[in-house]
């Protein structure tokens, strides 16, 4: 039975909140809440997969958003070409995400540290440009997807509430899967490689193959998030894979607390709520002071330095803060 401390209470309440979102939306009559939280839940899946390689594996990928795009595009392209069945779209999208992760990972993992960061960034940008060049599928403007994945009588993705709960179930499943993964023998190797890769090799581990496997697993899970995102927005465009989106994912993971089980979930909730709330708060408090200028439109001006602040003073993220850690 987990201890009843601040951190666990916050996590428990967050999950409870997530479970109750559709009910709340129904009662209040506000579908925006449901839309917002569907997006949060989907991106939390992506953040959880990034936390696997970054938080536990020490592999800082600045190109993780590419898999959001890959998953989304495979789904979108298949749908466009008339293949509407989810039973074909989803497995194919996952396999192709895995293949991309395999190739990109195989090349990138030949390097370490800042090289690795730059290279994953460059490869993701390459995938972005490939997306831009797909003129048949909308290129820069993107591709509208007219129907969500068809799963026959099994599940109706067009129902907003059903879709939300599917995403939430997949999120919780992912969190659980990652938790089991990092505590298994495989996970110990991945964590050891993060901690001291030379020692891993010295004690007898061919670390490369384990890191690559971890990278592929993370890419595949993120591909799943991509499929969900494209279904959710009924749209896919290269913008989803832009490197600043990868940056956002990194922020979500660090904000929540890198290398913790629920960090990515908390971080995504916090980050996206902040994105929504910050302009609103600024509009109420700062705008009246500068009539005519409307500073709240430029809310990202606050977000930037805020990030710097978190990095410098709250490195353990929200999870660390809740545990009572000081500057990590």
């Amino acid at each position: 039975m987990p201890a009843l401390n601040t951190r666990n209470i916050v996590i428990g309440l967050t999950i409870l909140g997530l479970l109750l979102v559709p009910a709340y939306a129904l009662v209040v009559g506000n579908t925006f809440i449901l839309t917002l939280f569907t997006r949060i839940v989907i991106l939390a899946i992506a953040a959880t997969s990034l936390n696997l390689i970054m938080g536990y594996g020490g592999m800082v990928s600045f190109g993780h958003a590419a898999y959001l795009g890959i998953g989304g595009y495979v789904f979108g392209i298949l749908s466009f070409e008339g293949i509407r069945s989810g039973f074909i779209q989803w497995p194919l999208a996952l396999i192709i995400s895995a293949l991309f992760a395999l190739v990109i990972g195989a090349l990138s993992l030949r390097t370490r540290g800042v090289y690795f960061i730059m290279i994953t960034l460059a490869f993701a940008q390459m995938v972005y440009y490939v997306g831009v060049s797909l003129s048949r599928y909308g290129a820069d403007d993107g591709l509208t997807i007219h129907r969500r994945s068809d799963f026959g009588g099994l599940i109706n993705l067009s129902n907003k509430t059903v879709f939300y709960y599917l995403c939430l179930a997949l999120l919780l499943g992912t969190v659980y899967l990652v938790w089991r993964l990092v505590n298994s023998r495989f996970g110990m190797v991945v964590q050891g490689a993060r901690s001291n890769i030379n020692r891993m090799r010295a004690i007898g581990f061919p670390s490369y193959r384990y890191q690559l496997t971890c990278f592929v697993i993370a890419g595949t899970i993120c591909g799943l998030a991509g499929i969900l995102l494209a279904n959710f927005t009924d749209f896919i465009s290269p913008a989803v894979m832009h490197w600043t989106r990868s940056g956002d994912l990194i922020v979500m993971v660090v904000l929540g607390g890198m290398g913790t089980t629920f960090g990515p979930l908390i971080g995504t909730v916090a980050f996206l709520l902040l994105e929504e709330a910050l302009p609103f708060v600024m509009a109420k408090t700062i705008d009246p002071l500068f009539p005519g200028v409307r500073p709240s439109e430029y809310w990202q001006i606050v977000l930037g330095p805020l990030l710097l602040f978190v990095v410098l003073f709250a490195r353990g993220g929200i999870d660390g803060f809740l545990r009572g850690d000081r500057d990590g």
Partner: protein
């Protein structure tokens, strides 16, 4: 053939621009061990400053000069206010912190200059063609970019290789602690180096502005190319950055011009028109991938560097 030659010159020009950007990046990384994603923001700021000052003064060269000084100052200010606190930290901290700076700069520029870009019109004496070879004409402006960039590159080489300051810079790149122990004012050196890097980035932005206009977010796209240049050339190596930048500039520019036509020979027109641009965009990254497989530390890694 003439077109090919012109594309080669364009590639050279683009490569030199990339070098200016990459030189600043690699200097800062080599000496301060700092990964600066906001380098592209300084490129953008330089472009906007140039457009503003030339419009204000009505004078092209004067505007450029003022913009250079302004960018240098902004760079040094950023170093003192933000970068100093990041030295010695994990590279991930650098990535996050400078990513925050990108957001900040993009919004600040949008606040001050508005969301639409800014034009930097060329004075008439630059807006002509020059005859570089008998019967061969080339844009005067692009030609002057090549000259200026070459001059800056040569100047950089001279300073780094032949002067005392340059020696300190190279020493700092090879061995940080020793240089500090020798009594050199490291803080001042760092601020100076960062400022120079910023000025170089700003200069590249200014030179590109008349061609592509000053826009929000213009720094990010070219920043990644600068990273690719550094990876191919070898981190910490100015010489490597130079060679790699020329290589990347040539391959990218000439590739984009030539590949779609080449593909039309092999594939059907429709396939070629899709694959052409895609392959051209990917070319540089393919080159980077090959370098990574064959020589992970780059073509000319600085001696003693990681």
């Amino acid at each position: 053939m003439l077109l090919f030659f012109e594309q080669c010159l364009n590639g050279l020009q683009f490569g030199l621009l990339l070098f200016l950007l990459a030189a600043g990046l690699t200097l800062v990384f080599g000496i301060m061990d700092l990964v600066n994603l906001a380098h592209g923001s300084l490129y953008m700021v330089g472009a906007y400053f140039a457009a503003t000052f030339t419009a204000l003064t009505g004078h092209f060269i004067g505007g450029i000069a003022l913009a250079l000084i302004a960018t240098l100052l902004v760079g040094m200010a950023v170093e003192v206010i933000a970068m100093r606190r990041l030295y010695g930290r994990d590279h991930l901290d650098h990535v996050l912190g400078t990513f925050g700076l990108i957001l900040f700069f993009n919004e600040l520029v949008r606040l001050i200059w508005g969301p639409a870009g800014m034009n930097l019109p060329l004075p008439s004496w630059l807006n002509t063609s020059v005859q570089i070879l008998p019967g061969v004409y080339y844009s005067m402006y692009r030609f002057s970019i090549i000259i200026v960039a070459f001059a800056v590159a040569a100047g950089l080489y001279y300073v780094v290789m032949r002067t005392r300051i340059g020696m300190l810079i190279r020493a700092g790149a090879s061995n940080r602690e020793m240089t500090g122990a020798l009594g050199v004012n490291i803080k001042l050196l760092y601020t100076f180096v960062f400022g120079i890097g910023a000025a170089l980035a700003g200069l590249a932005g200014m030179m590109q502005a008349p061609i592509l206009t000053a826009q929000i977010g213009m720094g990010e796209n070219i920043l990644i190319l600068a990273f690719v240049v550094i990876i191919i050339g070898g981190i910490g190596s100015i010489r490597g950055a130079f060679i790699a930048a020329i290589l990347v500039g040539l391959i990218d520019t000439v590739g984009r011009a030539v590949i779609p036509d080449l593909l039309k020979v092999i594939l059907s027109p429709t396939a070629a028109s899709t694959a052409g641009p895609a392959l051209s965009s990917m070319l540089i990254y393919l080159l980077m991938a090959i370098v990574l497989v064959v020589r992970p530390s780059g073509l000319f890694p600085a001696p003693g560097s990681r």
